[in-house]
Point group: C2
Chain length 656, copies 2
């Protein structure tokens, strides 16, 4: 009986490319939109993925493919995770069961999959710059295609998007910006621009003044006026219309033609808006209002919870038609992650450190800072997708006596490296960086947190720490705030925290002194001694390799290298002095310039000081020189030589 | 007789701190301004420095110190090289003869020198973020001081300044932004915002509509109107006034109160403007119009030429009073720099490569691209101080069929590292980066180009090249464009080009194969062989060390390691196989993660493949883990172990 009541997808079934979609009427497209929504919810309930944003952008996507000629016309998706509908309409519908799985369909648009995808985009605020570049190229090559950048209101807070608008307004190229305004980036929508957009929607002042001028005109009709007065009134009306008859005056003033706001769930209205700007040759911005999670009630109610979801049980109403309803449990209760430990420690520390403040660039949800923000709203700063501003603002705060903690993902810290160098490190500002998602994540090439160790390590005056368990994370944070001496980065993976139960009170610890975690001895006494220098989360992985190592190796010492900068020079000197030993560094980051490289550099400098001394050999485990694709973290770790099994293989390979 | 006619500085002489300045009247301040200008020109004619911008900001600086209480109130200078006047007024006048000299007065504001300087700022667009941070701290700590951010119209194009304005407009803290609008960043003023500011100055529309409404009112007075009509007219006027009676509507809409434009050379007007906003508690922007080079005619005529000057001969009129006039020769004819070679090669290549375009983020002058822009205006893109946008736009261009060359200083590339990773490298976009000022410069900590090798080397899919002479620079550029296969960075120092005469036509060369430059043999046959692997400009330095090495060392081979990524694996393998050899890497960049680290990593990986083989020792010369201060390039190179002399010492030290 269930199969019969499964919703039909007769329109969607007929679409193998955007061509078929073009034949549909407005009414039929509205039906298609409903089918697309059902399919997205059904698919994502099995695979997980970005639900809310894709439900919100259904009609915009349909209208784009109706009006423009992809791939001849280029559609650029700012933050490609809103591209699921686009993927469905461009021949990838049948692959959705592999969404975000290893070797499966990417969670982002990507040219690897389709000519309809021009770029991969995991970070925000890139689409307008890409569009400007492609439009300049088009003009230079005398082509005539359109270039359309789709950007969210969150993406528009990013400095580079504003740079691009500023440039586009100046050079006046033919670029269409579709502003998908759902009043919300990943967390709350923030900033003057967002508030301005909101006011546009709330009050159309221009309408007001116009209607009043109309009324004046009507009433004056009843009195005798000279022609000169009439002329003047008409001239004022005309000027008012020209200058103010637009809710998008800020964009207009910057040289971007504005149209909107448009109801983004009225597909006919969106199509009409696109048709109206399609043949213009100047920069256009179409302001479209959508609702995240549109059409799936639980997601509409709480679009943040449904921003990126794991596989989930379907709730009514969509599913009751075709599947037995399961208990409502969209996100499973989980063991505590490092993010949880970090954010809970911040809340505890807020009492001890009254001048501590927390800053996040639009990742309050992912970093677990929402609760901190609720308890300490005056000490919590979500600056929207503005990593650069977040870091430099923190430098200002530190200078003026606060203790700022910047919570930021490793991959997004790349956006603010200059600020870290220029505004924080040169003057040794005591800013604490909680670097979340340091290491591999399942979100693909754009989100891998693998460069932070190498890049931060090059910066003088920095301390780089990584905890091996929950207690260390807490104490690193506590100690950094307590000492308040200079910039400290504390890096942890997107992972369940090790030893997260029964946590002790905070303790002041010097993590630049590395500690031995474990030593095993000599089933194979002829083998050279092995020293594992594990950074952060790799300590736990190395621990799990110890039983197997016991069988194949000789003496093995596992050291918790809790600080990648500075290194524990005294300890390292001792270790290097044993010329028979094999030192192996382990890190969840790129090998080029990473923690391992630091140890190699140290060994080389040490050798220079004592050229006659023999030294232990140093070998490095880490992520080779490639971009790591998407897939489950466990798969990626093993593929990138960061599993217990791979450690054992490596130890064998170096002849130990 | 000359001494008598030397201009008096009676007001300036009386000022040892901002306190004395407060007692001066408007008229006296105007006289003080003239004295300050004379002194700046006279000083800079001897030391060099940033002339035009400091002449432009004299009255603003005087007014700031008149109205605000530095250092209790914080003055934040965006790009601190406009802080000379501020330095003069805060006790550092007598140090100007050491300006920008090693161990002398910094060319930027810096807290190392004075409590009146809150931050060091060499990169643009940071001041508003710093101000927001300091204002939040002030409020949290219940202080009452003012925070003033001084930013230029150039700085306002930077994305992070726009992020900060967006945030400030939302959080409504008490911050005063002083926009020093001289219609010109380093090169031409660009962008929609700049054009908007220009229109503000040109036409005050609001005045127009207001005067027309007044006129209507007057004329209607003569006719009989009902009270309701009158009321309506007044209501329209009021609304028009509220909403439009400001030329800064864009800022107002974003939540920043605007006042201006103010004549920035009328010190009384500037003081009045500051007094008017001083006691407000909401974000304020004061828009002040100044003229770069104001008061020194040659600099007013050509403020770009006088942006940053070397010591120069004074021209009339200022100097004729007190110094014999010397021939007009403000900048001496110089040998060709690498920038010259690069920009001239671009012009030549433009013929061969019709789809090549050049991009610069506001450094057209410094990079020598002005001439390219004049010859090929349609293929030249100065995007203002927008490094992020520049890089991602280039990715869009490459995708759509152009061959973009991004000319960017090493230090400013730090602003766009995420874009290099995310938009260029992941998809292997063939973007060519001409990395100018790679290495040490005399401009101080903020401008040292020492991190690029380490940071770019961590990024997969990248090729990192550095030329040892003019021919190599030309051929690297040519070959990268010809092959058009993926991102290539070509790095060169701010230095006269080696072998810049009689250049050959372009040739396609594979620079990933390193070449031996020179081998000297064995005055000291008992010494181990030394291999110098020199990257880029270090080849020439190493060459100059060869005669001295001949006396102290055995066999010395100098190899031009033209590519830091990829390394020449075959050659390196051979070199490492000679276990007696001492391999020494040389680079003008940070040791942490740099080219030397790459060789160490390679040697370690090689050792892993053949654990039984003995290897040559690898030692690294480069810049240690510290921020390099300002001073002449030759001094800094020697201080940082990058001179011929230091190479000889190093070779001795490693026992070779």
């Amino acid at each position: 009986m269930y199969t019969l009541s499964k919703p039909t997808t007769c329109f969607l079934d007929a679409i193998t490319s955007p061509q078929e979609l073009k034949r549909l009427s407005g009414r039929e497209l509205q039906d298609l939109a409903a089918e697309v929504r059902q399919e997205i919810v059904a698919n994502l309930s099995k695979t997980g993925g970005h639900l809310s944003s894709n439900l919100g952008i259904v009609e915009i996507t349909l209208a784009l493919h109706k009006v423009f000629e992809s791939p001849k016309d280029t559609l650029l998706w700012d933050v490609g995770h809103q591209g699921y509908v686009h993927k469905m309409l461009t021949g990838r519908r049948s692959h959705f069961k592999t969404l975000r799985q290893y070797k499966g369909l990417s969670g982002f648009v990507t040219p690897v999959e389709s000519d309809h995808d021009a770029f991969i985009a995991g970070h925000s605020s890139t689409s307008i710059s890409l569009a400007v570049g492609m439009a300049i190229a088009r003009d230079h090559l005398k082509k005539t295609n359109k270039v359309v950048a789709v950007i969210g209101d969150g993406g528009l807070t990013g400095g580079m998007a504003l740079e691009a608008i500023n440039h586009l307004g100046h050079i006046q190229r033919d670029v269409i910006i579709v502003l998908n305004d759902n009043e919300m980036s990943i967390s709350e929508n923030l900033g003057g621009i967002a508030q301005y957009m909101k006011r546009i929607k709330e009050t159309f002042f221009y309408k007001d003044i116009k209607s009043k001028l109309d009324l004046i005109e009507d009433r004056l009709d009843q009195v005798q006026l000279t022609p000169a007065v009439w002329e003047m009134i008409l001239s004022v009306k005309k000027q008012a219309k020209e200058k103010f008859d637009t809710p998008g005056i800020v964009f207009e003033k910057l040289g971007i033609n504005y149209s909107g706001p448009i109801d983004g769930h009225d597909v006919a209205a969106v199509i009409a808006a696109f048709n109206a700007v399609k043949d213009k040759s100047t920069p256009q911005l179409v302001h479209i209002i959508t609702r995240k999670g549109k059409g799936y009630e639980p997601a509409e109610r709480d679009s943040i919870k449904y921003h990126g979801v794991s596989a989930f049980s379907l709730e009514p109403p969509l599913t009751e038609k075709f599947e037995p309803v399961q208990p409502v449990q969209p996100i499973k209760a989980k063991a505590k992650t490092y993010s949880d430990i970090f954010s809970e420690a911040l809340i505890e520390l807020a009492e001890l450190e009254p001048n501590m403040v927390a800053i996040t660039p639009a990742t309050a949800e992912g970093s677990g800072l929402v609760r901190f923000g609720k308890i300490y709203p005056e000490r919590f700063f979500d600056v929207a997708i503005c990593e650069q501003h977040a870091v430099t603002m923190a430098a200002g705060m530190a200078k003026a006596g606060l203790k700022p903690v910047v919570s930021i993902y490793s991959t997004f810290l790349q956006r603010a490296l200059d600020q870290v160098i220029h505004d924080v490190a040169i003057l040794k500002m005591p800013v604490v960086f909680g670097i979340d998602r340091g290491g591999l994540v399942e979100d693909g090439e754009t989100h891998q947190g693998v460069f932070d160790i190498a890049m931060l390590r090059a910066i003088p005056n920095f301390m780089l720490l990584a905890p091996r368990n929950a207690t260390e994370l807490r104490n690193m944070l506590y100690s950094a705030l307590k000492k308040n001496e200079g910039p400290v980065a504390i890096r942890f993976p997107r992972e369940k925290a090790v030893e997260a139960e029964n946590l002790e009170p905070f303790a002041l610890v010097d993590y630049t002194k590395w500690q031995t975690v474990q030593t095993i001895n000599a089933h194979n006494a002829d083998k050279p001694p092995v020293v594992l220098l594990a950074y952060g989360a790799m300590v736990a992985t190395a621990q799990s390799a110890m039983p197997a190592l016991e069988k194949v190796a000789g003496q093995v010492t596992l050291i918790n290298a809790s600080s990648a900068k500075p290194l524990d020079a005294a300890l390292l000197r001792d270790l290097l002095a044993d010329s028979h030993a094999k030192i192996i560094t382990l890190e969840e980051g790129c090998l080029s310039g990473g923690f391992g490289a630091a140890v190699l550099e140290f060994a080389s400098a040490e050798k220079m000081r004592h050229p006659q001394n023999k030294q232990a050999d140093v070998f490095c485990m880490g992520i080779a020189d490639h971009f790591v694709e998407h897939g489950a973290r466990s798969i990626l770790l093993n593929e990138n030589a960061l599993s217990a099994e791979k450690i054992v293989e490596f130890v064998k390979k170096v002849g130990a």
